[in-house]
C-alpha cells in the first residue's frame, strides 16, 4: 500500500514517515500542496491514500483538496486531513472539499491514525 504524506513540519513528517514505515506502508513525501500536486502528476503509480496537513506554505491543504477534486485522475484517492486546527469550520470545510477523515494531531496518538488509515483502505 502506498501513502502520500503532505506535511511541511520536518519533525512531524519524519514521525509519520516512521510510523507508516513501521506499519509497512510505502511512503511518498511532499513539503507542501504544490509539491504534492507536482509529484502526483508525474507519478507512475498513484498512492492509495493521501495524508495532508492544512497549514502549509505555498499551497495549503484546502487548496490541495480543491485541486485534487478538479483532477479526474486524482479525485478518487481517499484523503485524511491531519491538522492541529480545532475549529469546527475547518472540519466542515475539509469534509465539504471531499476529505474522508479529519485527524487532530495533538488530540490523538499515532496509532489512532494507523487505525483510521486501515479502516479507509479496507473499505476501498
Amino acid at each position: 500500500m502506498k501513502v502520500l504524506l503532505v506535511e511541511d513540519d520536518g519533525y512531524m513528517a519524519q514521525l509519520y514517515q516512521n510510523l507508516l514505515g513501521l506499519e509497512k506502508f510505502e511512503v511518498d513525501m511532499a513539503g507542501n500542496g504544490q509539491q504534492a500536486l507536482d509529484s502526483l502528476r508525474t507519478m507512475q503509480q498513484l498512492p492509495d491514500l493521501i495524508l495532508l496537513d492544512i497549514m502549509m506554505p505555498q499551497m495549503d491543504g484546502f487548496q490541495l483538496l480543491e485541486e485534487l477534486k478538479r483532477d479526474e485522475k486524482l479525485k478518487n484517492i481517499p484523503t485524511i486531513v491531519l491538522t492541529n486546527m480545532y475549529a469546527e469550520e475547518a472540519r466542515a470545510r475539509a469534509k465539504s472539499l471531499g476529505a474522508k477523515e479529519f485527524f487532530i494531531k495533538s488530540e490523538q496518538d499515532p496509532k489512532d491514525l494507523v487505525e483510521k488509515i486501515k479502516t479507509i483502505l479496507m473499505g476501498v
Binding site: D9, L19, L22, N84, E88, S106
Partner: protein, 610 residues
C-alpha cells in the same frame, strides 16, 4: 373678517332697526296728531255749515257743537228735519247744509237718522242705505273718525253727531281727503329713511375701515406671526406700533419669540456640537433625501457633502457594495433601523446604519457611517493570532506526544530499564496535559477577546450527552461510581455549536466523576421555557460557600490554594471556559445547589425554533 361679521354687523343691524323703528313710531305719532287736528277741523267745518249766516265769526266761536241747546232754531238743520226727513223742507235743509261745507277736501257727506239709516247724501246715485257699523257706534259720543284707503288715496271718515235738546237725532259721515295732510309726511319719511340708509352705509364703511385698521389688521398680523412661530420660524421680529391691548399682545409675542429663539439656538448649538463631536459620520436626510446636516466625520469620509446632491454622493460612494436607496426605502417603509453588514469600500471598511425619524410619519432618516476598518483589522489580526498561536504551540507539543506515544507503542521492547519506561510515560502524560493547558488558554483568550461562536446549528443535545456519558463511563466504573443518564428522545433540538456543547457537557460530567469519590453521578435534561436545562448531580462532599464564589472563575479549582492545586485533575480553566462558551451560545450556567451530600451544576441552552 370673521371678527367683523361676528361683532360689528349685528351692532349695525340693531342700530338700523332701532333708527327705522324710531322713524316709524315718529311718523305714526305725527300722523295721529295731524289726523286728530283734521278731524277737529272737519268738526268745525260741519258746525259752520249748519249756520245760516256764513262769516259771522263771533256767533261761530260762541257756539259749541250742535247739542248747544236753545240756539237750535237758528240752524239750517233742526230736529224737525229728522222727524220728517222726506218732507221737501227737510230735503232742502239737508241739501243746503251739505252745500255749505264748501271745503275742497270734503268729498262725500251722508246724513243718517239715529238708527243709522241714510236720509240724505251729496253722492250722486248712491245705493248706500245705512251708515257703516263704525259710524253707528259713534252716535252717542263726541264724534269719531276712521281712516280708509281707496285707490291710492287716504280718506278721513268723520262721524259728527246731531244732538238737539240733549237728544241724539242723527249723524253725518263726512268723507274727506287726507292726502294734503299725509303726503308731505310720507314724502318726508321716505327722505328720512333714504338718508338713514345712506348715513348707515357711510357709518358702516367708516367703522369697517377703522376696525380694519385698528383691530383686524393687527390681529391678522399677529395671527400670521403666531403661525410662523408655530411652524418654527423664529427669525421674524413681532412688532406692532401700538400701545393698546394688541400692542401689549404683540410685545408678549415678541418676548415669547425671543425666549424660544434663544432656547432653540442653545438646543441647536448643543445638538450641533454633539453631532460634530461624533467620531462616526452622521447625516440627516429629509423625506426627499436632501441632506439636512452632515457632520465633520461624514464630510471627512465622503468629501464635502452638498445638500441637494448629498444623497447621490452617498450612493455613488458605496456603489454596488451597499444599496443605500433600497436601505432608505426599507427604513422609511418599516419605520425600523436598517443596519448594513461590513461594507468594503476599497481601502476602508464601513458599517452603515439608517434610523428613521418618526413623528406621525417618517419625516427623515439619520444615516450613521461607522469606519470599522481598524476594528475589522483588529478582529482579523486577533483571529490570525489565535490560529497561528494554536498551530505554532501545538506543533512541537504534537511532535513530543507523537514520538512518546510511538516509543511506548512500537519500541517498548527496546527499553530495558523500567525507569526509562516510566520516564517516557511521564513525558507522554505531561505532553498531553500541556496540550490541554494550551487549548484551554487559547480558548479562554479567544472568547475573552470577544470572539463569537459562528458554527451555531440545530443540535440534538440528548444524543451529545449520551456520547459524553458513554465516553466517561469507563472512568466512572474504574472509580466505582455509577453514572446515570436516562435520555429522553422526545426533547427538541437546541441551537448550539455541537463541538463546544460537547466540550461543556464533558467538562461538567468529567468534573463530577473526578471530584466524587463514591456514589453516583446523574445527568438529566429537562425543558425549561424556551431552553433545555442540563443538570449534573454528584454525591461528592459539596463545595463550601466561600469556594462557591470562586467557581466559574479563571484558574479555580474549588477548595484548592495555588500551592495545593492538583495538576493531574485539570487546569482550573474548565468551568471558566464552559461559562464563556455557554454565554456565547446565549445560555446560562451555574451551580444549582451544593451541600455535604453533593452538588448540582446546570446550564441552559436555547431550544431551536421550528
Amino acid at each position: 373678517m370673521k371678527l367683523i361679521q361676528k361683532t360689528i354687523i349685528p351692532i349695525i343691524l340693531l342700530i338700523a332697526v332701532i333708527l327705522v323703528g324710531i322713524a316709524y313710531f315718529s311718523r305714526a305719532a305725527l300722523e295721529h296728531a295731524l289726523i286728530q287736528q283734521e278731524f277737529e277741523r272737519i268738526k268745525i267745518i260741519s258746525e259752520r255749515a249748519n249756520l245760516p249766516e256764513v262769516g259771522d265769526e263771533a256767533a261761530h266761536d260762541e257756539l259749541g257743537p250742535h247739542e248747544e241747546g236753545g240756539a237750535e232754531a237758528g240752524r239750517i238743520i233742526n230736529r224737525e228735519h229728522f222727524e220728517s226727513p222726506k218732507a221737501p223742507t227737510s230735503r232742502l235743509a239737508f241739501q243746503r247744509y251739505m252745500v255749505e261745507f264748501k271745503d275742497p277736501t270734503v268729498k262725500q257727506i251722508y246724513i243718517a237718522d239715529n238708527e243709522g239709516k241714510i236720509i240724505a247724501t251729496n253722492v250722486q246715485n248712491s245705493t248706500l242705505t245705512k251708515l257703516t257699523p263704525v259710524g253707528l257706534a259713534v252716535l252717542n259720543g263726541q264724534g269719531l273718525y276712521s281712516i280708509s284707503t281707496e285707490s291710492g288715496g287716504d280718506f278721513l271718515h268723520s262721524y259728527i253727531p246731531f244732538i238737539f235738546d240733549g237728544r241724539l237725532v242723527g249723524a253725518a259721515e263726512i268723507k274727506s281727503d287726507l292726502s294734503h295732510v299725509l303726503r308731505p309726511i310720507h314724502d318726508e319719511m321716505n327722505q328720512i329713511i333714504l338718508r338713514l340708509i345712506f348715513t348707515g352705509l357711510v357709518a358702516l364703511a367708516v367703522i369697517y375701515t377703522i376696525e380694519k385698521l385698528i383691530i383686524i389688521k393687527p390681529i391678522e398680523y399677529l395671527q400670521l406671526q403666531a403661525q410662523a412661530i408655530g411652524r418654527g420660524n423664529l427669525n421674524k421680529k413681532v412688532a406692532l406700533n401700538s400701545s393698546d391691548e394688541l400692542g401689549v399682545l404683540a410685545q408678549f409675542f415678541e418676548n415669547m419669540r425671543q425666549r424660544l429663539k434663544i432656547s432653540r439656538e442653545a438646543e441647536e448649538a448643543k445638538l450641533e456640537a454633539s453631532i460634530q463631536s461624533l467620531k462616526f459620520g452622521f447625516i440627516i436626510l429629509d423625506e426627499n433625501k436632501n441632506v439636512l446636516m452632515a457632520n465633520n466625520a461624514a464630510n471627512a469620509i465622503l468629501g464635502k457633502i452638498k445638500n441637494s446632491t448629498g444623497f447621490k454622493a452617498l450612493t455613488s460612494y458605496f456603489r454596488d457594495k451597499f444599496n443605500l436607496t433600497a436601505a432608505y426605502q426599507r427604513c422609511v417603509a418599516t419605520k425600523e433601523a436598517v443596519v448594513s453588514g461590513e461594507i468594503d469600500a476599497g481601502d476602508k471598511t464601513f458599517k452603515v446604519s439608517l434610523f428613521p425619524i418618526v413623528t406621525e410619519k417618517v419625516i427623515g432618516v439619520v444615516v450613521i457611517i461607522d469606519d470599522i476598518t481598524e476594528a475589522v483589522l483588529l478582529v482579523r489580526k486577533k483571529e490570525e493570532f489565535f490560529t497561528v498561536a494554536a498551530h505554532e504551540l501545538r506543533t512541537p507539543l504534537t511532535s513530543i506526544r507523537g514520538n512518546m506515544s510511538m516509543i511506548k507503542d512500537y519500541y517498548k521492547e527496546k527499553m530495558n530499564d523500567p525507569q526509562v519506561i516510566d520516564m517516557v510515560s511521564h513525558a507522554y502524560d505531561s505532553s498531553i496535559r500541556l496540550i490541554k493547558i494550551v487549548n484551554d488558554f487559547l480558548d479562554a483568550s479567544k472568547f475573552e477577546n470577544g470572539a463569537s461562536i459562528t458554527n451555531i446549528e440545530k443540535v440534538d443535545m440528548v444524543k451529545i450527552a449520551m456520547d459524553v456519558v458513554t465516553e466517561i463511563t469507563a472512568v466512572a466504573k474504574a472509580k466505582g461510581l455509577r453514572l446515570i443518564y436516562n435520555p429522553n428522545p422526545k426533547l427538541p433540538p437546541v441551537l448550539a455549536d455541537p463541538t463546544r456543547l460537547k466540550q461543556v457537557i464533558y467538562n461538567f460530567v468529567g468534573n463530577a466523576v473526578n471530584y466524587t469519590q463514591q456514589g453516583a453521578v446523574e445527568v438529566q435534561i429537562n425543558p425549561e421555557g424556551d431552553y433545555l436545562k442540563l443538570t449534573v448531580k454528584d454525591s461528592g462532599i459539596g463545595i463550601s460557600p466561600q469556594n462557591q464564589r470562586l467557581l466559574f472563575q479563571k484558574f479555580q479549582q474549588a477548595g484548592k490554594t495555588v500551592l495545593s492545586r492538583d495538576g493531574s485533575v485539570g487546569t482550573g480553566m474548565g468551568l471558566y471556559i464552559s461559562k464563556l462558551l455557554i454565554n456565547a451560545m446565549k445560555g446560562n450556567i451555574g451551580l444549582l445547589e451544593s451541600s455535604n451530600k453533593g452538588s448540582i451544576f446546570f446550564f441552559t441552552i436555547p431550544i431551536a425554533k421550528v
